[in-house]
């Protein structure tokens, strides 16, 4: 579309553009202005002494970026490896968990019986609970002694003779992955279910006549036709889990120390360094680096799943 066409288009569809305008202005205020300020801060030395100067803090060039990536003396760098490792494991596990569980339940609920409709509503409950409540509640549930998880594992199912520790040591990572899956799988289920209902019955019927097994029907009909849904869920999942913060901070950060080596995600690391250690510029630099990496990930997603590839 050339320049002339754009203006003509705006004139022709002014009503639609008028409705878009608030969102565009809102996006500018809420997203782009903070991003630009964040980029500026990442080149300054904004700390407890210079905070009152704000954007007039001394300019230090790329020093913050160097500190985040290479300087072994920087506190952000010291915890970076663990934070990246945990975030990668966390994101993969949460997406696989949510997608798997969501798909299984969506397939089970893809019927029009009234009891199924009731379950459809009931399964949405975890998703209604705010993430900070999820974090707090699971914090209690993981408790070694009085937590319901260990009670179930040792007393009811008798899977362990000794109750495991969840909130200390490497198990911490599971202690944050499982509540996140619990919180988000209904959303995945809902989206996949909506997708499943758009698949015409005729396809499955034809496959049945041709003698296809249930597994073959799922693999060759359901999964490819659901691609627009699960590919979008994959994108949303990557973005929301890499930027995950609430559950960890509510489980560990609120009146109960800090997440240890296996509970620290990128966001909690950046938050701690920015707001507890007063290294706003290093926090901003780390956020910008993360943003660039995420833009790369999204670009890759477009390359693989982009509009014309469905």
């Amino acid at each position: 579309m050339n320049k002339k066409n754009i203006f003509q288009d705006i004139r022709n569809k002014s009503y639609a553009y008028a409705f878009l305008l608030p969102m565009v202005i809102g996006m500018l205020i809420i997203h782009f202005v903070p991003i630009i300020i964040g980029i500026i801060i990442s080149f300054l030395d904004l700390n407890q002494y210079t905070l009152s100067l704000y954007l007039k803090a001394p300019f230090v060039g790329l020093k913050n970026y160097y500190d985040v990536l290479f300087n072994p003396q920087s506190t952000l760098r010291i915890g970076l490896f663990q934070a990246v490792r945990n975030t990668v494991i966390y994101t993969i596990c949460v997406i696989c968990g949510c997608m798997g569980l969501g798909m299984i339940v969506a397939l089970m609920l893809n019927e029009n019986r009234s009891i199924v409709k009731l379950f459809r509503t009931l399964y949405l409950f975890p998703w209604i609970v705010p993430t900070y409540v999820t974090g707090l509640l699971w914090g209690f549930m993981w408790n070694h002694e009085i937590g319901v998880v260990n009670y179930l594992l040792t007393k009811v199912f008798k899977l362990f003779s000794e109750p495991p520790f969840w909130l200390i040591g490497p198990n911490t990572l599971f202690a944050i992955i499982i509540p996140t899956i619990w919180r988000y799988w209904p959303y995945y289920m809902l989206m996949l279910l909506a997708g499943l209902q758009t698949i015409p019955d005729e396809l499955n019927e034809a496959a049945t006549i041709d003698g296809a097994s249930e597994w073959q029907k799922f693999w060759y009909i359901t999964l490819p036709l659901l691609k627009p849904v699960w590919s979008i869920l994959l994108l949303i999942g990557i973005i929301s889990n890499v930027y995950s913060f609430n559950i960890v901070i509510m489980m560990f950060g609120h009146g109960a120390g800090f997440p240890g080596e296996w509970g620290d995600l990128l966001m909690t690391n950046i938050f701690r360094n920015s707001f507890n250690l007063w290294q706003f510029s290093k926090g901003a630099a780390a956020s910008i680096i993360l943003m660039i990496v995420m833009i790369g990930v999204v670009a890759m997603w477009y390359k693989i799943f982009g509009r014309n590839k469905w």
Partner: protein, 477 residues
Amino acid sequence: MKYKYFFYTSLIFLVSITSLVIPSCKKKEHKEISGKKTINIWIMPNSPRPVIDLEEVLSDFKKDNPDIEIVITAIDWGAAWSKITVAATSGIGPDICQIGSTWVGTIASMGSLLPLNDYISEIGGEEAFLPAIWETSHIEGSKEIIAIPWFVDVRAIYYRTDIFKKLGLTKKDLDTWESFEKTLKRIKEAKVVTDEKGNLYVGKEAEDKLKQQGYKLIEPLGITGKNDWNVIHNFVPWIWAAGGELLSSDRKKAVFDSKEALQGVFFYTGLVRKGLVPIKSLELNTTQVATNFVNGEYAMYFDSPHMVKYMSLPEEEGGTGETVASKNYDIALFPKGPKGRFHFMGGSNLVIFKFSKHPKEAWRIVAYLCSKKAQIKYSQKTGFLPSRKDAFDDPYFEKDPKRKIFKEATKYGKVYPCIPSWGPIEPVLTRRLGILWDYVAGMYGPPTDEDIEQQIKLAAKEVNSVLLTVNSSETNK
């Protein structure tokens, strides 16, 4: 027609945006009532009813000073750090603010606190306050007094007198590190078992009872691990008692990885490694450990004086006065280490911001709150200790044998260095020592001295990096 639509849509958009923007622009300051000067105070939840309790303490002041209108706001400890620092840097905030004694150095370095040197003689000056806590009234090395100590918090040992009596132990058995450890071992080996009524059984009898329902084993000591804000406060008395320090005397380097400091760390963590502390207690925070002590899970634990009040109140008033532990406990000082006895001393200070429009009136309130009468009254409400020496002469502290021990503990009180970099150091140390507890709890296999030393060295490395960053920022300031 299209333009008409455009006009109406724009109008709706404008109205909705203005309705969002206008309330946020409205200043939140309270209106000045004619002739009265309004003083805003921010406090933390120091008691169950923070605002009402402070208003009651200030009731006499209000009668004598009708020209001052006091507005008290309670802010949560979790949000306090960011709210106060935003106020300090933005110039929008209260006139008077409570700040944690360990935060003074950092917040003072932001340059927004009013120097109070000209006023302090009115409240008796430095001599009137406990010497240790007075160190938090100013940045180390500076003569500018900017934060007046308001109340003090020291930790001591809470122990079960009935268990001690049963095993023939006394308070003296907690006097030194050696005797403390020996006492814990004695309780561990005796296998003290209790029933719901609080009857105690030891030895063979206890072993038989333990097989029946309704009986439980009492562990010698309950301490918190990583999931607690007090991680450093719990570690540091042992480091000090072993002759170690946290930072070098020029405050440029972390020295808690020295041989002496490590001795303290080994002793404290050794209590867990020797099985004298149940590993499951390491997952809890101070409140949960306190609840367990009250419910008869441990023979000993460490806590602040506010529990004395809590354990004396009946259940209807929110206390636990009826439990067996609440009726059979006493307080003891921390055991003496190779280089003496130390108690971590914390608490809160009162500051006046430079941007206050009525600094003189604000000072009158601070002076009143730091007077002997108000300090005793507030201590009775919160359970914390006064910061003034003369307040301890009151029968409330003198006649109560338990509070008297806390008074004694203040003599051994020691505070963290009051320096600008302490604010960022505290979260680093809290987290690093928390990770150390993971190792001590055996999450990575049986813990060795090398593991612990390595974790302490990592903590020192991170603290050094904070010191380097903050100090270089300070020189560039």
